[in-house]
Subunit: 541 residues, 2 copies
């Protein structure tokens, strides 16, 4: 059970992930068993040493997760951990069904949460300080006797230490003496600052001799720093969650903690080659939990290495390393130049270069594009998240500059219409009709969908596939609606972002208008146009 194969991270430092248990407490997250299995695979790919999967016995979902994990998860790097509590007060550990469920889960490692704050023992557990110590000893001893590796989470440790340091340390000693491998000091309410964490961890480490871990909540905005401060104080086990998900403000974010250890401490805490998977895995987990990935997350956010200011953009041309703290490729991210009305010509020129357009030779064209971007952005467009629409704009302006006409398109829209009607049985009919011209043909199609945009998308494809069979491999993968200039309810301007894939890559387009359906249509039009361009199809009506 305690054996580690050569593929597992070395045991001297533990990267312990609790996304599936503590992270799932985040407001807005609800995980199915399938979600949990998928996330566990991503975490294993990332190379964490331990994956805390849930509390077997506490709810049917977590029990099922452990049952399926045994057969369905072939973990390469990580060991699976079951979470539970110390035995109930006044009950023999052998008779406690909650403890039995931990063994039944089959997980080789168990985290046991124990109270370490005297007031919590008395008010929440309603037992004596002495009985609480016995509960820790008995539970750890029982699990060890059954061959499990045991970590003990000392809940509310830092608040408890402030209130009664001797008792808090007595809990650490009880766990350590009974055979816990790691005693984890938890800042459960998240109120600590790094200097305090560093001082307490150092003292407890010296006084008890136990191997210590840290579990920090982010209520002061310092969870990452608190985790690192604990490492500075002697902790060799860090509990984190992917993207910092967790109750209230969240937990210490796995990604910046690991990045700091690897890149700033120069400490190898992940298996070789895993660090550069960070950005991909962060976004993949966000997808599974159905939260928009934070654009501004350290290291992995799409904005983390994005440069906007004209001031910087010109200097970045000289040497990018002057303006980034690490090379973004180390964590699988990349530098990006933003197109924005704050950016000057230098940014647009760089962005053009990124897309393969050399604008440096033609100052007049560059000026026109800058003007056009400013004009569109003031109307609510954003090109920061819609590279494909930006490229179409660039292409149009280049062509107009060269020939006086916009670039040729693949189709011309005559008209479209969408109808949504509710039926007496509570279902809805969605019907769309589009009328197009392409390759000299007039194409008219009507389609039904499970929403008006879906109906329009289907009608547009149906019409256009007759002349452009290349559309067959393209799929809409994301559709985002944002209401701009709020406080006016449905009268506001709507911005729609559409993401499409052809199986080899993705592209994003934008549409804007007071009408959500019309804005969606614009984004769809751009998306199919760009897809055909990408496929190498020659435009021309």
């Amino acid at each position: 059970m305690t054996g580690t194969t050569s593929r597992r991270p070395h045991d001297g430092f533990h990267v312990f992930d609790t996304t599936l248990r503590d992270g799932a407490q985040r407001e807005g997250i609800t995980l199915t068993v399938a979600d949990k299995l998928t996330i566990a695979r991503h975490l294993d790919d990332f190379g964490v040493g331990f994956i805390e999967g849930g509390w077997p016995g506490a709810n049917p979902r977590d029990t099922e997760f452990f049952a399926r994990a045994r057969t369905e998860l072939g973990l390469r790097h990580a060991q699976l951990v079951a979470f539970g509590a110390t035995r109930r007060a006044g009950v023999r550990v052998e008779d406690d069904p909650q403890v039995a469920a931990l063994l039944e889960s089959g997980a080789p490692v168990v985290t046991v949460v124990a109270k370490s704050h005297d007031r919590h023992v008395e008010l929440a557990l309603r037992t004596t300080l002495e009985e609480n110590l016995a509960m820790v000893r008995d539970t750890v001893g029982h699990l060890r006797a059954h061959g499990r590796r045991v970590f003990v989470d000392c809940e509310h440790f830092f608040d408890g230490y402030r209130a009664n340091p001797e008792y808090a340390k007595a809990v650490v000693r009880a766990a350590h003496t009974a055979g816990a491998d790691v005693v984890v000091l938890c800042d459960t309410n998240g109120g600590m600052l790094p200097a305090q964490v560093h001082a307490v961890v150092s003292l407890v480490h010296e006084d008890t001799g136990a191997r210590l871990g840290i579990h920090a909540q982010d209520d002061t905005g310092c969870a990452v720093a608190n985790t690192l401060a604990a490492v500075d104080g002697g902790a060799t086990h860090v509990q984190c969650t992917a993207n910092g998900y967790g109750e209230r403000v969240g937990n210490a974010n796995l990604f910046p903690v690991v990045a700091a250890l690897e890149l700033k401490y120069d400490r190898r805490v992940l298996p070789e080659g895993c660090l550069s998977e960070m950005t991909r895995i962060s976004h993949a987990i966000a997808e599974v939990v159905n939260l928009v990935p934070s654009t501004h997350q350290p290291y992995v956010g799409v904005s983390a290495f994005a440069h906007k200011a004209g001031l910087h953009a010109s200097a970045i041309k000289v040497d990018p390393d002057l303006y980034q703290h690490i090379s973004p490729e180390l964590v699988g991210n990349s530098m990006r130049m933003l197109v924005s009305d704050m950016a000057g010509r230098a940014s647009i020129e760089l962005k053009g270069k990124e897309l393969g357009y050399d604008l440096s030779a033609d100052r007049e064209l560059l000026g026109r594009i800058v003007e056009r971007v400013k004009e569109r952005e003031s109307a609510g467009y954003t090109y920061e998240a819609a590279d494909a629409s930006f490229e179409l704009l660039l292409r149009d302006e280049s062509e107009r500059h060269r020939t006086g006409e916009p670039a040729a398109r693949y189709f011309r829209v005559e008209s479209w219409r969408a109808i949504v009607e509710d039926r007496p049985d509570g279902t809805h009919a969605n019907e769309a009709t589009v009328k197009l011209w392409a390759k000299g043909e007039r194409l008219v199609s009507t389609a039904e969908g499970n929403g008006p945009v879906n109906a329009l998308d289907k009608a547009l494809r149906l019409a256009l596939e007759r002349t452009h069979p290349e559309l067959a491999g393209m799929d809409l993968v994301d559709y985002k609606v944002r209401i701009l200039w709020g406080e006016q309810g449905t009268k506001s301007v709507t911005r729609v972002l559409v993401e499409m894939t052809d199986g080899r890559g993705e592209w994003s387009t934008v549409g804007v208008g007071t009408n959500v359906i019309a804005a969606s249509w614009q984004a769809l039009d751009d998306a199919y146009t760009y897809g055909l361009l990408r496929a190498g199809v020659r435009p021309g009506g």
Copy 2:
């Protein structure tokens, strides 16, 4: 110019805000002059000592801001700061138009950015190390001679200190000797960790004797902790931005920095009574910059004091202070119980109590409500952000439990229809028809809107106002669309959240379905129903 009235924060510690300058570099933010004036008023209400308004002369918008600020902003607490650079290399400071624009701005305080990293001087500025020192001396001296208070931002200080500590300190000394009140050490690339910041700030403070400030970017996720580490090292001036807005990952977030200083350091850095405005001001500024307030922001996020886990919920009934690091009222926030399928009966019981329903007496009813919430949440509903829909559910179930029938509603929908059609001129027609029954009358209305949901909203009001004139004071203030279970484009399930106001308060409702229009209709139906309930109108068709 340097005088502070009794209403101004004391000068011993500076809370310096740079939302309007450095914060505006954030991807997705574009501020008009009116936005900047509004934000400045909010920051002044919050009680910061200094508001950096922009770079006069660098762009017409910033120049206009300072011109209008002089007459339109009556700042109670803060002093306005103009940002600019040292004079150009090889140019007399008197002849540098950029420096002249700083004086012309009329701001009593000027921040001058200076290079302090030797490589940046040579590669980005393309001048000598000695000339750079002269540029600092001359610029500070010139501004001081014209009666301005001067702060110097040492750009890339920490990277520069690592590369060439003597030169970095020479820049600090040059600024200090020339009369700068504060020399601000900037972690421009944001790569530092708190222990490093603490060490460097302490050493520089001891070596130079200059008054020091800190400007931290958040690229390691440690900007708040780095700011506090600098304060621990002797800095008495902190540069922050509201909600941490800023380039790439962002800047040190003003709110957790100030909260830590006030509540954890017990240091009075804001005028009396301002701290409790924090949550309101954070959200108001997010509105102005048109970003959704981060729900998980420390101290001020709606989730910052929200409790979900069944484990905690039962203990919170005993003593809330056991589970929160500060009393949320101190920062103008409040504790919230979340309704969620992870929560057990205890959470729903508490939530009911919050809304005025005592569910403790009837275990069977409570169980039914828990079941119903679970069922709806698995279909994609969320009640965490839709209290009004939750209350309607609670009301329905209570009534059904008592009488066998759901609670009476105000109206019964016979059918509705929405049509969107594009016109040859590029505009769109949106038309909706609704057929309702209320107070025994059949109400049929058709309305046009600038989108299908707006048209439906108008048609519904038009119909219902005939029997329920109370609707007149109600307005839709926010409309959010979220695509659930992504990766399927427009075929996914859509969740719509609607927020409505009656001028006295707001309420939120939810609708879910594969069809965005139908989901919007559900949320509208709930929103008007709840509004009438709130207005004390007796239901009954």
